[in-house]
Every structure is written in C-alpha cells, then in structure tokens.
C-alpha cells in the first residue's frame, strides 16, 4: 500500500511539470493555432532565470589588497570576491537572501518570460500563422535549438545546482501524517512545494480565463475568432498577451523545478515530447484535458518504473506513456477531453 501511495505522489509531482508545460502548449494552440515546439525551451529559460538570479545575488567585488586565491596550494585564478549582499547587509542576511534565490526568481521570471513570449510571438511566430503546421513545427523547433545553444554558450553544458531554501531541504514522514507506519513514505519537502505551486498556477490560470473579461474574450476568441473580431475586439493583441502568459507559466514551472533537477541547457527537450503526448492525450485545445492527462500520465509513468513492474515487463518504463497514448487515441480519437472540430479540418 505504501508503495502505491508513494508512486501516486511521485506521479502527481511529475505530472505537475507535464501539466504546467502542456497547459501553456494548449493555450498557444487554442488561441493562435500554433504548434509550438519551442515551449520546452521556455521551460528551460525559466530554469535559467533562477541560475541568473543566483548569479546576480552572488555578484561581488574584490576587496582592496586581496591576493590571488590558493586552490589546494596552487596559486592561480582570480582573488576571492566578497558578495555585495554580504557587504551591504551583513553575512547572515546576505546568505539568507541567496538561500531563497529560487522563490525570489519567480519575481524575476514573470516579467522576463512574459517579455520573451511576446517578442517570440511578434518577432517570429506571427509570420507563420497562415503557414502549414509542418512549417510552424520546423520554425519553432529551430528556435528551440537556437535558444538552447545561446544558453549553452553563456552557461556551459554542465548542470548547475540551484538548491531549495534550507527550510525546504530534506524530507518528511508523509506516511505517519496520513496514519500509515512511521517511515513507510518519506517524501521530499520541495516536491510537495512544487505540486502545491503547480496547483496554484493552474487554478490561477483557470480563474483568470473564467472570471476576467480578458479571459472571457480569449475564450470567445478560441471558440470563434471571426465573430469576436467583427465585434471590434482586437483579438490578436490579446492572443499575443496569452502567448506571453503561456511562456510565463512554462518559465515558472522551470524556475521551481531547479531544486528537483539541476538545470542544463537541454532540459526543455527532455520534457517537450512528453508534453506533446500529454496535449494530444488530453485533447487538442482542451485546457482541463491537458491538466488531467499531465497528472494521469505522470502517475502511469511512476507505476511503470516500479521494480516489480519492470521485472514483469522489462522495458515498459520506457514506453508506457506512448502505449497509453496509443490506447487512448484508439478508444477516444479526440483524446480524453477533446472537442469536435479541433485539428480535424
């Protein structure tokens, strides 16, 4: 029983990342009709917002009279720097601010990712609205590679650790909390934080689309763009903003993911294919479908990774998501919550 609960938790956690990325993908597809293969790169850029903030917070100066630092008895490299934060606020306060660099990065990532999204849409993607989906896929995939290489050029190919705040490092006895045996389910704090964060972002997105005028117009535009335009509403401008919001959602997913896996330039590609499967399984253009499929496939993947399952069906852990996609699409060709008429012309 404890293993089942543990894998459900793991699945929800994995599904959080899938759902957040798939949500943005679906928003872009639903509003602009663009199949955005650069969406994984936006997730990666979000993660590198954290790395950037961490580096900014660690910026320092060389104190007067400092000499070249000795590394294990060898004298090379530059003199050791004193971080500005420690210089201004004292050592303890400076280190505390750096310790919270991941949550602080959210404040940095939201405007940066919104801006990146808007620039991407206005600068490149809008020129491909009337082109075939194959062209859109090619150009967005190419853009993803360019973004990856830019990040690799500035940050290197190696992973860069970005730990969670000290208060959320480590794990706790989740089993004991829900009345199971002590030690049966030990779960990391940060993964719970990530899951809760994902739920908040997803809920906020749904609330934004459901209860604001802006969201209502966007939904109307998704349903019937022509009619909304005839009513004198500038749908294009709202869809551009939606692209920025979708980029920010992917970016935030990346920011908060950094303590789970140290970011590197390739991390977006690792999620991209699975996220597209999530979108298709959920139903093209269906936001609840994307979220539901994200969590379901995350849980399925976790169960398929259990030792007992692998021993019974070797290799199933590598293909289970695609097998599930095949089965779902055979039985429900529009996906779990797909609407008629979407991608069916």
């Amino acid at each position: 029983m404890d293993q089942i609960v543990l894998q459900i938790l793991n699945g929800l956690d994995k599904g959080s990342a899938y759902a957040l990325i798939a949500l943005g993908l679906t928003l872009i597809f639903g509003t602009l009709g663009v199949v955005n293969f650069a969406h994984g790169a936006l997730f990666m850029l979000g993660a590198f917002c954290t790395v950037t903030v961490n580096r900014i917070l660690n910026l320092g100066f060389v104190p007067e009279g400092a000499t070249t630092q000795s590394v294990g008895g060898f004298n090379f490299g530059s003199p050791k720097e004193t971080p500005y934060l420690e210089h201004w606020f004292g050592e303890a306060a400076g280190q505390a601010i750096v310790d919270w660099s991941v949550p602080l990065s959210i404040l940095f990532a939201i405007p940066v990712m919104l801006l990146i999204g808007v620039i991407m849409e206005r600068g490149l993607i809008k020129h491909f609205y009337k082109r075939p989906h194959a062209d859109q896929i090619l150009v967005t995939f190419g853009l993803a590679i360019v973004l990856q290489e830019i990040i690799k050029y500035y940050y290197g190919a190696n992973q860069i650790p970005a730990p969670a705040p000290e208060a959320f490092v480590g794990s706790f006895d989740f089993g004991a909390m829900i009345g199971m045996d002590a030690g049966a389910i030990i779960y990391p704090y940060w993964r719970i934080v990530y899951f809760v964060f994902a739920l908040i972002v997803i809920s906020a997105m749904f609330a934004f689309l459901r209860y604001t005028t802006f969201g209502m117009v966007v939904r109307a535009g998704m349903a019937d763009r022509e009619t909304v335009t005839i009513l004198g509403i500038n749908v294009d401008r709202r869809f551009t903003i939606m692209f920025g919001i979708a980029a920010a959602v992917a970016g935030l997913a990346g920011v908060m993911y950094t303590p789970i896996n140290s970011p590197n330039y390739h991390m977006g590609m690792d999620f991209l294919v699975i996220s597209f499967v999530v979108v298709v399984v959920g139903g093209m253009g269906s936001l609840p479908g994307a979220v539901l499929a994200g969590f379901l496939l995350g849980i399925l993947e976790s169960f398929a990774s259990m030792r007992e399952v692998i021993e019974f069906l070797p290799g199933v852990n590598q293909v289970v998501i695609y097998l599930a996609a095949i089965v779902i699409l055979l039985t429900r060709p529009r996906g779990l919550m797909g609407r008629a008429g979407v991608m069916e012309d």
């Binding site: 994995k14 630092q69 294990g72 060898f74 090379f76 190696n158 030690g183």
Partner: protein, 450 residues
Amino acid sequence: MSGFKMDRRGLLKTSAVVGAGLAMPTIFTSAARAYTNEPTGGSVTLGFNVPQSGPYADEGADELRAYELAVEHLNGGGDGGMMNTFSSKALKGNGILGKKVEYVTGDTQTKPDAARASARSMIEKDGAIMITGGSSSGVAVAVQALCQEAGVIFMAGLTHSNDTTGKDKKANGFRHFFNSYMSGAALAPILAANYGTDRKAYHLTADYNWGYTTEEAVRNSTEAMGWETVAAVKTPLAQTDFSSYVAPVLNSGADVLVLNHYGGNMVNSLTSAVQFGLRAAEANGKNFEIVVPLYSRLMAQGAGANVAGIFGSTNWHWSLENVAGDRYAGTNAFVQSFGAKYGFPPSQAAHTVYCQTLLYADAAERAGTFNPCGIDEALADYEFDGLGNGPTLYRAADHQCFKDVLVVKGKENPESDFDLLEIVDVTPAEQVTYDASIFGGELGSCNPGA
C-alpha cells in the same frame, strides 16, 4: 598546313605514355606511403575528437584545453608540463620526430555515428595520423573500430567500460583511463572498511553498455567482500527524474544504494536520492549509504552539495601529488602548467588526454616512425612513470594501462568549485590488475593502412 593523323600504332604508343605518366605519381606514392597519412612535410597532424556539443561539451572543452597544452609542450612552448617529469626522455620539445605538431578537431556530439564521421573526416581530409579523445565508451568503441580499419592509431580519452579494452579491443587502440573492473576492485575494500561487510546493496543502473559493466564489476567486488545485492534496476538513459526509481529504495531491505550512472544521470539520480532522505536515513540498524562508482569533477559540480560524504573512484585528481606524495610526480607540474594557462585545475578527462598525447608522441620518437605498427610495438608492455599516476604499465595483451586507482569522497566543506572531491585512499595497481582474457575479445594485429 598538315593535318593531324593518328594510326592504330600511334594511338597505342600515346596511350601507353599518357597512362604511364598518369600512373607514375600513384606508383611513387604507393611506394613511399607505407602507412595511412604518413607525414611527408615538416609537420604532423593529430586529430582531437571530443564532444564539443551535447551533454558532455564541457568535458570536451577541458579535453581540448589539455590537448592544446600538450601540443604547445611538444612543440617546445610553455613550461614543458609533464614532459619534465616523464620517465622517458625521448621527447625533446621539437615536435614529434622533428616534425611540428599541428592538430585538427572534431565534434563527437557523444554519438557514435557522429564521432565516426568526424574521425573519418579528420583521417581522410585532414590527414590525421592519430585520433584521440572522447567522453563515452560507446564513442570510444566505435571510433576505435574505425581507426583499426583506417590504419591509424586511436588513443582513447575518457572511456570507462570494460569493453573498450575487453571484448571490443583493437590492436590500433590504446586506453590510459581506468575501467569499471578497476573501480569495483578499488572501491570494495574501502567500502568494506568504512561500511562493514554485512551490507545489502540496491543498484540503479543506466540501461546501456557502460552501466552493465559497472554494475557487474561493483556487484562482483562487493559480493566477494560479503555484501548482498537485493535488487538491480535498469533506468532509461534518457531519464531525468529518478524519483520513482529512488523512492522505493528505502523500504526495499537495502542499506546501500549504488548509482551506476554517469554524467547527467548521476547528477539527477544522486539529487533525487538525497532529496528522498537516503543520506539521513537508517536501514537494518545502520546508516543508509550511497556509492557512485565513477566520479568526475563536472558531475560533482552539477550535483553540488549532494556529493558530500559519498564514495566513488577516479582515474586521477589534481591534488594527488600533494595528498599522496612524490610517487605521483607529474601531477603538480601538470596542474601548475594547466592552471597558469587557464586559471583553474584540470579535470581527470584533461589529464588522461594530455597523457595519451605525450605517450603517443613518445612512442613515435622511440619507434622512430609514425607507423601504427611501430607505435604498437613501442607501447606494448611499456612501463613508464612521472605522468601523475605513479608507475604505470601499458599492457600488450589488451592495450590497457594499469596504475593505482583513486578512491575519493565528496568534500563536506569545499573551498571552491574545483575542490569538491577529497582523496580517501589510493588502491595499488596490483590490486586492480586482472587477466586480460576475462573480458574476451581479440586484439588482432596492427593495421598500418595504406
């Protein structure tokens, strides 16, 4: 004006003369070229085939730095680095056999096909006499086979699988780096001394060749010490989130987790293991422990503080001479030389490729030829010292180097990004030496090509 008339005899004569003329350079070339890409001018070209893109690009960049330093030293530039401490005094700083050393580079992308294509290009278009580098066993095995066919020497870079000098060994290929067997043999006694002989291990193994050989090596060595293996689970190479593999470990009956992962796999699986509290947990009345059979500095940098206190093995470490003494002479000379040029100490990947370049050059000098068969003879059962690993043997039977192996541990309080590992022990070469026949394969005979 007289018209041009050609009779049958004239045509035959002219054809014979033209044919002989066209054939002449080929005949001369064939006679002169005893082996592939024999250098005829004042320079010799080496091919550095390293990952310049893909996940190991940083490791490839460090290899390239070391290659450039080696070329500088071979051509008489810089401070000479390990040429000053190398037991062989054949290298004079005037290139190799009096020819200036030049180089070309290729990008392996850490993909066997891409690595073969770039190696082939360097051999066929650039005239590389020797190919070296790489950061993966799959790449090493593929490029080694290509070099065997092409008739050039392959001096492997970072490749740790037993197969490179085991079942896939080739007469034209040589490996300075250690292997999975040696990691297992070096680690097991240290693990037994630190964690006891009554332990239950759970292996997570990357689902590809290197993972299998490493798991096998560590299992065999630790089981021989009394450990029991409770489970071994293969993880997909492309896996990034290891939570579903790590989470069940704590309640599996195991009290040690062995991560047979390298690169990004290792960084992510170790991060997951630490997040799930394995470092702080107890099982079977003992502290739960994690072991990483193969460490690299880049991996340690990627995993950050998660490596603290975790045992593993390495081929070399820049602090070796300071920690373990003069036996490892050459280390400080190399670190000083590399650090002065680049501002930080070299990685083990940089060290092994620097050694390989010097060893190739030295073999050519001693053999008096670049002919692969001459190099083969010069390196066969060659014993040397002063390249930072202590006394070393290049065994003739499988072209594998045998030298002391370092057991290291993640530092609790590192002073810098380069100070993440500390040397716990150095296992003598005799303890990690094995019979060349145990991994099968046929070395074959050297191929000079041409």
